[in-house]
Subunit: 141 residues, 2 copies
């Protein structure tokens, strides 16, 4: 029950629970991967009149609260997803733009190597791999 959690987290910091904040969080969790604009669209379906500015401000807030996280999936459109989804790696197709997810388990070795050899701690929730998906690969030929 995300609504509960949101209220709690907000209250704990002396922040206010508003319809917009609930809607934005709900939209993010619901859409899975979404740009601010897509979230705006979704929210607008339920509550017309919510400003895109509010979407940006709310996303920033929710990210600060640790409820959502964002990833850069190319060109420049950041996409947001629930922070509970931490631990999924994005596969982005260059050709069709489709975004898929895989378990971060396949990264275990890479993480260890980078940590040992470089002291670099990979943030799995923020990883995106670009390439070509199965469908587009077939068409390619």
């Amino acid at each position: 029950m995300p609504g509960q959690t949101l209220a709690d987290v907000l209250r704990a910091r002396g922040l206010r629970l508003t319809a917009q904040r609930q809607l934005v969080l709900e939209a993010v969790l619901d859409l899975g991967h979404a740009t601010p604009e897509q979230i705006h669209e979704k929210v607008t379906c339920t509550a017309a009149g919510v400003n895109i500015t509010t979407i940006y401000r709310t996303l920033e807030l929710l990210e600060g609260l640790g409820l959502v996280a964002h990833t850069h999936l190319g060109h420049g459109a950041p996409t947001y997803h629930g922070a509970g989804d931490r631990g999924h790696v994005h596969l982005v197709c260059h050709r069709c733009g489709k975004v898929d997810e895989v378990s971060p388990d396949i990264f275990t070795d890479v993480r260890r190597k980078l940590s040992d050899e470089r002291g670099f701690l990979v943030d799995i929730g923020h990883v995106a791999l670009f390439g070509m998906c199965a469908g587009c690969d077939e068409e390619e030929s």
Copy 2:
């Protein structure tokens, strides 16, 4: 001698060799990882008056010719590098913004797994991993 190559590649497609194109390519190769703006700055040192528009158009052209490639390294700033550098993975520090590189060899297993299990072909030249570098990790505590 990239200049030679550039001339050849351009001629082969009936395109023209211009000072701007040479300068942009040189800047990209020289800077290693650079945003369009940084490239513009660099080019401007040598030849003032080159328009940022030209930088964008030239980068697009050079990328089409396979001479340079770009990667998204966060927030939305695309960075360009020589296509000959194909096969390096970027490590981007969330904290200090530093960009490091590692050999793509560490990705061999991941690539194979994704290819086998998902049919997804990872474009190594386009990979960026986010996280925290050794230096920032020490300061963090």
